[in-house]
Amino acid sequence: MEHNQYDAIVVGSGISGGWAAKELTEKGLKVLMLERGRSLEHVKDYVNENKEIWEFPHRDRPTRDMLANYPVLRRDYPLNESTFGSWTDENESPYEEIKRFDWYRSYQVGGRSLLWGRQSYRWNRMDFEANAREGIAIDWPIRYEDLESWYHYVEGFAGISGSMEGLDVLPDGNFLPPMDLNIVEKDVAARIRAHYNGNRHLFIGRTANLTESRPEHNRVQCQYRNRCWRGCSFGAFFSTQSATLPPAMATGNLTLRPWSIVTRVLYDKDTRRATGVEVVDAETNEVIEYKARIIFLNASTFNTTWILMNSATDVWPDGLGSSSGELGHNVMDHHFRLGAAGRVEGYEDKYTYGRRPNGFYVPRFRNLGNDKRDYLRGFGYQGSASRTGWSRTIAEMNVGADLKHTLTEPGHWTIGMTAFGEMLPYHENRIYLNRDKTDKWGLPILAFDVAMQENEYAMRRDMVFDAVEMLEAAGVKDVQGRDVGYAPGMGIHEMGTARMGRDPRTSVLNANNQVWDALNVFVTDGACMTSASCVNPSLTYMALTARAADFAVQELKRGNL
């Protein structure tokens, strides 16, 4: 007979779920962490980590079978042989696109913490105030000051490398030493600083890769292989496996159960509290109930909301948290896939050593200070400079020995940067349950009805134009602005659908990430976001999770939960 009673249940084992498990177990709670996908052990299961390109049957390119079976994943770069197996089976777990929505999912222990881009930025003060000031959606119930010490805490443990820049728009943090810009990036940064009188900045990205080893955590500093997404036995980048899971396990308080699809939160309408969760075993289809005093939903933005929508439907037909009418609404992502690139003259006697898993960052400069645009919010750029390799096509060159020898040597330097823009929360951008269609386990699927609006389209003009202008100002040649097209979801920064707020009539969660209608249910993944900022969101999920876990344990001790 399986032990079914815990102090806390954490649903999901990705970035925020891992943090929840670590914090709650370290505070003494007996925790059950449920993961719907496969088990994946640190080091042992990184099966492609040390393969070289020629060891993949199709040299890491997707096959016809992969393309046919992954109609969503094939829309962008992630489909390849080296990460195959880490992505959700699209035949088993379909979803419906009222409008095109690209949903990149990973059902495995560690989730997308093993696949993420690792760029880690704090939100700034303005990000938390913008909704209220501009009358957009609803106000955040918290401010930067509420999260500041938690940012400091999670940066310290996760290991974020970065440089101190002293900018209000991108607050500095508790950083490890920064990685280096290369020689071309340094010169471009200096020219941009001079041209814009110190009002635009280009510096090394802040990334969750260690630049100093931490033997006490069994983590070794980054080896500059740039193959993080295959798993890293050095534990150099932050993932559930490398960082949050080991200390949680070391407490002896954690039980991790893979292949466990949480189908609903069990809700007691008399006490107005959750009592546990119902799970279907993904392998055996066995239905099991687990009980706990508190529940953390960290199943990734849309699956967290899916669980809420499927819970307490006898009380609220649209699910737990739907009393506000906002559950499933206000879907956000970062819109991107546009910017500029060009050729850098000179530096023929310079090259780089090592493959840096990081690039440069240009923080937001629009709608700041006296700058006013015809749209709200702004965008940042991420990019890099490098010498081209053999994959450059030299169209005009004849075939033969010269072509081969030319491509054997490094080519000219190029530099490019891609903008990531803030998307506003729109009530009409929503997901909902389609109970007429089901997945492999007979569970209803999600339908997506999400689109960019005028504010995003207006911003996109600047996102290309400003990139071209900045690179040209830095002396880059043949600068080309490009918008290669974006569909919601491609940013893989899903946010919203169970937003935090100050009023249960307009929000799903309160200021401590508690579901208003069931205060012992916490949501601390991307679903909780009230607006999107333009910076990569994962660090903020970490901070919100650590903060909510601390609050939850205090409330338990006070007898309030």
Partner: protein
């Protein structure tokens, strides 16, 4: 390839990203059956001579030395979708008939200079090609790309021609380069 490098990658290729590159692939292309057109042994023999003309043996290995023809067949059979496979097969037929019409000889029987001349003319044609809807590129662009990709991703070239650095251990963004030194592997 990651998202940060997206624009740079697009800028660095003149005209086309790698065929089958998901980045630039049409999102609405339909699923293909598991098996499509298969290249034959005689196709592979012709491809071997085309690939060797693109990348001949010099002081470094040629395309045939490192198994490029076999890899091209594998790529086209297993990774190309239907319309691109069709373009590729049509291309092989066109090369066969065009060489016969122009030289009265099959491509395989031409001397090296005429093979190169023929392919360089084809290269010019390919640059101005108006590709049909759903076709990623002219067949000669495909052949050239597959030769380059297959060649540089072989163990022999990665370890013996390029400079292999499996675990760099550090990053130096201001590293000296002397003309003539080869590029790093992958």
């Amino acid at each position: 390839m990651n998202r940060r490098e997206l624009l740079q990658m697009i800028a660095s290729v003149t005209g086309y990203a790698m065929i089958g590159s998901p980045v630039l692939m049409s999102a609405c292309s339909s699923a293909s059956p598991a098996r499509g057109l298969e290249l034959s042994a005689s196709d592979q023999a012709l491809l071997a001579e085309i690939a060797e003309t693109i990348f001949p043996r010099t002081t470094t290995p040629g395309a045939k030395d490192v198994g490029v023809p076999e890899m091209i067949v594998r790529f086209v059979n297993n990774t190309y979708e239907d319309l691109d496979q069709q373009e590729f097969h049509n291309g092989l037929a066109a090369i066969r008939s065009d060489t016969l019409a122009r030289y009265g000889q099959s491509f395989e029987n031409l001397p090296a200079e005429q093979r190169a001349e023929f392919l360089n003319t084809l290269n010019q044609t390919a640059l101005g090609y108006q590709r049909p809807h759903g076709v990623t590129a002219h067949y000669f662009i495909m052949m050239k790309q597959l030769t380059i990709y297959s060649y540089f991703t072989t163990e022999q070239v990665q370890t013996g021609v390029l400079r292999m650095l499996p675990v760099p251990g550090r990053f130096d963004g201001d590293y000296p380069y002397v003309k003539g030194e080869t590029a790093w592997s992958i």
